[in-house]
């Protein structure tokens, strides 16, 4: 395992995921969240939980990169893209379960589907493009 490349891929995956989440959830979906404000933490409460949001991103990026590095381990943006789509669909299953038990709107569910598929696919492409196994590095 190429730890140096793996760590670099993890940092890039984390940074992309954070930036994507900020644009998608913080800007694009902001009106949808405001329309369902009673379901979410108020702004000040959210801000006080911001470190936990960062921690969650770091955990997902670490697991996502670690799984690719240890089980796929190929230097290919295309393979990474496909890997990301698989993880994205897995995440969509979780969104469906949440929709079944939480009073989310259909628009929020569809936007979460799109977010997970796009975010993980691009994350996978980035990780696949950056990671090189030791014998190929």
């Amino acid at each position: 395992m190429n730890h140096k490349r793996g760590f670099l891929a993890f940092i890039v995956a984390f940074a992309f995921m954070f930036f994507f989440g900020f644009v998608w959830h913080g800007m694009l979906m902001k009106p949808m969240y405001l329309a369902t404000a009673s379901m979410w933490r108020p702004e000040t409460d959210f801000n006080s939980h911001f470190p936990i949001l960062i921690l969650g991103h770091a955990i997902v990026a670490f697991a996502f990169t670690g799984l690719y590095v240890s089980k796929v381990g190929i230097n290919s943006a295309g393979v990474g893209f496909g890997y990301g789509i698989v993880i994205g669909i897995f995440a969509c299953g979780v969104n469906v379960i949440r929709f079944a038990v939480e009073p989310l709107t259909t628009n929020i569910l569809l936007m979460w589907f799109a977010a997970d598929l796009i975010c993980f696919a691009i994350m996978g492409a980035l990780v696949g493009a950056i990671y090189k196994p030791l014998n190929a590095a």
């Binding site: 089980k71 796929v72 669909i89 897995f90 009073p103």
Partner: protein, 81 residues
Amino acid sequence: MNLKKFFIAFIAAFVFVFVYEWVFHGIILKDSYAQMSALMRPQAEVNFPLLIVGQLVGAFFFTMIFVRGFGSGGGVAGGFR
């Protein structure tokens, strides 16, 4: 890929997830969810078929990831590495 074994593993994963989530979320955490009922659908509005679909999707792709990427064995440590 051994499709027959894959299918059996997928069904076993789905059944386990269904039972586990029912016990964990439906029994153990029931009181906690009741205290935050504004954030949950009322019992009558819970979309059970969609819940099953979500669990099926999760179990299918969980199994697929295992089958595709964890063929080298090595027990618990092998799966974790």
